[in-house]
Point group: C2
Chain length 438, copies 2
């Protein structure tokens, strides 16, 4: 027979089962936490009409897209979950209840150059709250507090959610009549950690910005101290611009509420240099960094936008949301050995029979499964050593052995695979023990 | 602004949140049950190299495929989860532990003509057990018993898993020297319920099959009675052919073990006319029907195959598996009003504040969420009626009201939205009550 070489495309993550279990546990933690805050699931198609998907982008990101035709249709695989959300809300705006709190966890596609840790197919885990006409600023605090809870549950300790408000920089630029230069200025101040204050000043001078205004910019982005000191410093700058003042007021509100949501100071900070691109977000913006691994970039970002579905319908739908790029996060945490999860196997118990008749093994399995205990029976007629090796390789924590002796006495042999400890017990005792372990 | 009409492609299911909750609950039931039987998750890419995906099919199903090129690569969206499994096992055969019990739940793509209840993107929920060289027949009984448990948990009562063994028909055809006519004969006997025995006989005569052999065929497919009577009848036919005898022996074993797995007689039956296509399955085959809605076809099918990865590697890997087409199943059950689920909302509780300061509401929410209770706060400054309407529309079962009075007394107002019952309680009492409800 002629054979085809089995291979997976480069840039596509495909895990062995042991790692898949860890991945799925992370995914479930994210999902369950989103649900704990009352977010509703939606599940949009992977394929959309190209016209619908690019209503906003207008083709500018075309190179990265998976686009193709089928029959007369121009189709594209979704490249994020935000555009499908905008479409969904536009289509169903009369059937949804607002504020609409939705989460979506799904794969998205970008044909980027394949490189280590960059994937062409990856999971995004999004939450957004969409208001009808208006949306309370408290949402801007609840959303990052959900992310805080998720990262703590994933076992992470050294991370910081950086919070800013786009109106602060925008207001400053307005006040110094530098709105047209905004993109260039942003690009320059973004480099301050890398090139230092002096070079930033030099580059700003090249843009023909006056010395006085350069000082204002540098003063703003160099603001430091505790969160409250930063907020105070923003007010002390006395920038007389309505947008700026709105930004500071909103930022203060967000900080006030994020504290009420019990997020400890250690895990969030105000960072006025965070901008998240220039045209989409209009208020609060977030980025999240691993303190010890800043170079991997933000692991969870988002912000507030004025109008989710403006490219589809004429209805003002402001929103705020954040997104976790799970595939990349899993890759990073795996690389730096930071994945902490409760269980490493699906089965809690493997039943091994020493006798030909598998009836007793099946009956025991029925009982365990009835109690909700994940149970597997080893059916194959192999040597006992091979059977134990299987449990070992799959990291199954307990093995039950059934032999002539066990049948006679009605007691099973329960082996703890981690400690090696072995004891004889009745099935009811085994169940009680395993249930307590959960 | 120029606007694009927001629309979802025909043949792609996109649910409103209320239905999505039900869909996801079904999906979770399936996943949790697969895990209870110790199946390991895998997650293969939606996009594969066309060459890899069509290693077997050789292009014959091309019309239904979503195929396209990107750069130099010919790519295709997966059309099932079996071929990706074959690829996966071939790639990782030295790293996996056999028997390899895997489940995969994911979307697959077929560009079929869009029609009611037929989808171009749909979820398949697969389990397979893959052996290395050999695989115990008990697996052929455990797999349908898992499906039995799932359908019961989904609240279905009137369904039947039909079981057959391909060797029985194959053996009969061998014994009457009609192997070359097998496909035609199968096609004819498949129609017996529709066209009746007389017409079947007539069509078989057209194939130049002798009267004696036609009688054998008709006798076989007309076998009736209880499961045990059918098994006895299969033996009584005295067909002297090794394949036939193997088939009967295997079928008897499967029936013996499916009973040991506690599947009641009502939910399975032997049906020797079930064949499931002609070239893939080699032993046990299954189809599952809703007794009252047979016309919708099989809702869960599968079987035993000799060699999973033969198009990729030279290693004998026999397997047995079944698959639920979840998107179609959801559509059908929804149509005939058969979806029974425990909960209809994500949030268990909505907190409504009558006072401006949302601090008490947030503190209550923090406490409830700490206990794992899905909780939502209504932040917007709307009339109380609008807030209750929101809870109602989202089918949230409980509402907590916080007003001046509640702050003074330290007791909350808890309203059961279904009964309308309302009472004053301390937060600890509320928590106790909601926890007991689960």
């Amino acid at each position: 027979m002629e054979r085809t070489e089995p291979k997976t495309l480069p840039g596509f993550m495909e895990l062995l089962p042991g790692e898949q279990v860890l991945f799925n546990q992370m995914k479930e933690t994210i999902q369950k936490t989103y649900e704990k805050f009352g977010f509703l699931p939606i599940d949009t198609p992977v394929i959309e009409s190209t016209e619908v998907l690019l209503a906003k982008a207008g083709g500018e990101t075309e190179k990265q897209l998976y686009s193709f035709t089928k029959g007369d249709s121009n189709l594209t695989l979704r490249f994020d979950l935000t555009v499908p959300l905008a479409k969904y809300v536009a289509m169903h705006s009369n059937e949804l209840s607002f504020p609409f709190r939705r989460y979506q966890i799904g794969k998205v596609y970008r044909g980027e150059r394949a490189q280590r840790g960059r994937y062409r197919e990856f999971y995004q885990c999004d939450i957004d709250v969409i208001g009808d006409g208006e949306l309370n600023i408290i949402n801007d605090a609840e959303v990052p507090s959900i992310m805080y809870e998720i990262f703590r549950k994933l076992g992470l300790d050294d991370f910081t959610i950086k919070i800013n408000n786009r109106k602060i920089l925008n207001g400053l630029f307005e006040s110094i009549n530098a709105k047209e230069n905004a993109i260039d200025i942003m690009r320059i101040i973004d480099k301050i950690e890398k090139i230092g204050e002096k070079n930033v000043v030099g580059e700003l001078q090249n843009l023909q910005i006056s010395q006085e205004n350069i000082e204002k910019i540098v003063k703003l982005i160099q603001i430091d101290g505790t969160t409250d000191e930063k907020l105070q410093a923003l007010e002390n700058l006395k920038i007389e611009n309505q947008t700026y003042c709105e930004g500071v007021t909103e930022l203060k509100e967000v900080i006030k509420y994020i504290r009420l949501f019990n997020v400890p100071e250690k895990y969030f900070t105000v960072d006025v240099s965070i901008a998240r691109g220039l045209d989409y977000y209009t208020g609060t913006v977030y980025e999240t960094f691993l303190d010890e691994h800043k170079s991997v970039g933000s692991i969870c970002s988002g912000g507030r936008y004025n109008n989710l579905s403006e490219y589809y319908i004429d209805r003002k739908l402001p929103g705020v949301g954040m997104s976790i790029g799970l595939t990349r996060l899993f890759y990073i945490l795996n690389e730096i050995n930071l994945i902490k999860t409760e269980k490493k196997s699906i089965s809690e118990i493997l039943i091994i029979s020493m006798i030909q008749d598998l009836k007793p093994a099946i009956e025991i399995a029925n009982k365990l499964r009835q109690e909700g205990i994940n149970t597997e029976i080893y059916f194959d007629d192999k040597k006992i050593k091979a059977k134990f090796k299987y449990a070992d390789k799959l990291k199954i924590p307990y093995v039950i052995v059934i032999g002539e002796d066990e049948i006679k006495t009605g007691e099973l042999t329960l082996k703890n695979m981690e400690t090696g400890e072995q004891k004889r017990e009745k099935i009811e005792e085994v169940i009680g023990e395993l249930m307590n372990n959960e």
